[in-house]
């Protein structure tokens, strides 16, 4: 673990940026991260907490003490499955899931490689698939993910079963794909 210097330069700006983003996008849930008093209820209900080096309450604490950079490099923010149980149960109404998502977006904007390689590969393969066809083609998503992650036989037993159940389409459906490609380009290049 990194040795934490208290309140490194620029950290106030990071906290302000997180609070401001959440207040603009989701004002009904706007309670700043400072109001968290570390009861740990978010972590108690988190389905992925046992997979995180910093579970949700510690991520919030890192933000509170100005260690946003540590949070941005954590596995925890990427293991979060956005189930929103944390935010729902927070007695202080801190939008914890919103903070987790904001940290993921900030990590990407700053070019910080997601610390959870598998989840990132899966999500990026998903988006490439949608960018190509306009809709998700599930068999191709799993195929590409397995190749990139080198988990070649992950769920290999499921393919034939799903095929026999008529649950796997053989060909992708393309929908408005030229416009979707333009949409992706504009959105990802926008400042």
């Amino acid at each position: 673990m990194e040795i934490l210097a208290l309140n490194p330069p620029g950290s106030e700006k990071d906290i302000e940026a997180i609070n401001a983003r959440l207040e603009t996008l989701d004002p009904d849930a706007a309670k700043s991260v400072e109001t968290c008093y570390q009861c740990g209820k978010c972590t108690a209900g988190c389905p992925a907490a046992d997979q995180m080096e910093f579970p949700p309450n510690q991520i919030i604490r890192l933000v509170q003490i100005g260690q946003v950079n540590v949070a941005l490099k954590s596995v925890g923010i990427w293991r979060c499955v956005s189930c929103e149980t944390c935010s729902t149960r927070c007695p202080q109404k801190v939008n914890i899931a919103g903070v987790m998502n904001t940290l993921r977006l900030m990590a990407r904007e700053r070019g910080i490689q997601p610390a959870d390689r598998e989840a990132d590969m899966f999500h990026q393969a998903f988006l490439q698939n949608v960018r190509m066809f306009g809709r998700l083609f599930e068999p191709m998503l799993v195929g590409i993910y397995n190749m990139r992650s080198m988990h070649l036989f992950h769920d290999a037993d499921k393919g034939p079963l799903l095929l026999s159940k008529g649950k796997l389409p053989l060909f992708p459906t393309s929908s408005d794909s030229a416009r979707v490609r333009r949409l992706f380009k504009k959105a990802l290049e926008s400042k």
Binding site: T24, L25, D26, P27, D28, A29, P47, A48, D50, Q51, R79, V81, S82, C83, E84, T85, S87, T88, N101, R104, L105, D116, E118, A119, M121, F122, H123, Q124, L127, V130, G134, R135, L136, F137, E138, V142, Y145, S149, H154, D157, K158, L161, L162, K165, G166, K167, L168, P169, T173, S175, D176, R179, V180, R182, L183, F184, K186, A187, L188, S190
Partner: protein
């Protein structure tokens, strides 16, 4: 009135049974659905954790297209429902984001397409009384645990679907079609969602607990309203048997399949053959099929 219908990507693939049963139920109840023209993926988790403008733009594109058909759009997938409703919420609060999203999606849209989950269609649009009146084969004696998962009910401030900790809407549908409502603690637990592929162990742990709870409370079957939940609860029973050594063998049906059975539709019309854990034995034993 005609409702716009947004099936979403999963309903063209692993959740084909949800698509078939939703359409069959709507036909049987005389509710006209018209597919949203040129609908595209809602972006779901991969998009919302990658780029805010991307995910809002995908939502807005679909909503504008739905609006060309009707001012109400019916969405069976809980993930799509959550995303489209969130897009409406986001553009109502963040005007700069709205302008950029309309530009990227090449549409004009003012947030006026109302997003309805198929359960809301049944309860709030068609109404439980009308649904009850249409029942031909009540699901008498079938104990159904309604599993809501995350995305239908959370965040409550945006979804406004039902209480986020103890929702009742799906249970009301089960009761209306004559099923026995199971009172159980797992209805809003997370199944592990899209961790199913990159981190299967999270899903196995969650699903094992959810199914253990459902069975301990006497459920014969679990009702779901989300393709991701269905796949995780149904298909992953195979992995739980292999890796945890527990054989749950409990059928996981879409709520629309259960409603369809009560309306007298056939197993093939409701695509029951697509379920991994065969529902036929318990449905026959209870005289539902």
């Amino acid at each position: 009135m005609t409702y716009a219908y947004y099936p979403g990507c999963s309903l063209e693939g692993t959740a084909g049974d949800y698509n078939e049963s939703t359409q069959a139920v709507c036909r049987a109840l005389g509710v006209p659905l018209k597919e949203v023209p040129d609908w595209v993926c809602c972006g779901t988790t991969p998009a919302h954790e990658t780029n805010q403008l991307l995910v809002t733009s995908l939502g807005v594109k679909n909503l504008a297209s739905a609006r060309s058909v009707s001012d109400k759009v019916v969405v069976p997938c809980a993930a799509c429902y959550n995303r489209l409703k969130s897009a409406n919420y986001e553009i109502s609060h963040d005007k700069a984001l709205k302008a950029k999203a309309l530009n990227a999606a090449e549409v004009s849209y003012d947030g006026d397409a109302q997003v309805l989950h198929v359960i809301e269609l049944l309860v709030r649009e068609i109404g439980l009384e009308k649904l009850k009146a249409a029942v031909k084969k009540p699901l008498k004696g079938l104990a159904v645990a309604s599993y809501y998962g995350c995305l239908l009910v959370r965040p409550e401030r945006i979804m406004k679907f039902d209480d986020a900790e103890d929702p009742q809407t799906m249970d009301q549908v089960v009761a209306a079609v004559g099923g026995d409502v199971v009172d159980w603690p797992g209805k809003v637990d997370c199944c592990g969602a899209s961790a199913a592929i990159p981190h299967t162990e999270t899903v196995l742990k969650q699903v094992n607990q959810i199914l253990t709870d459902a069975k301990a409370c006497g459920a014969d079957v679990v009702a779901v309203a989300c393709p991701l939940c269905q796949n995780n609860l149904d298909l992953r029973q195979l992995d739980i048997r292999k890796k945890i050594g527990k054989d749950h063998n409990i059928p996981i049906l879409y709520i629309t399949q259960l409603v369809g059975l009560a309306l007298g539709l056939s197993a093939s019309e409701l695509a029951l053959q697509k379920l991994v854990v065969d529902a036929t034995p318990v449905l026959k034993a209870k005289g539902v099929l």
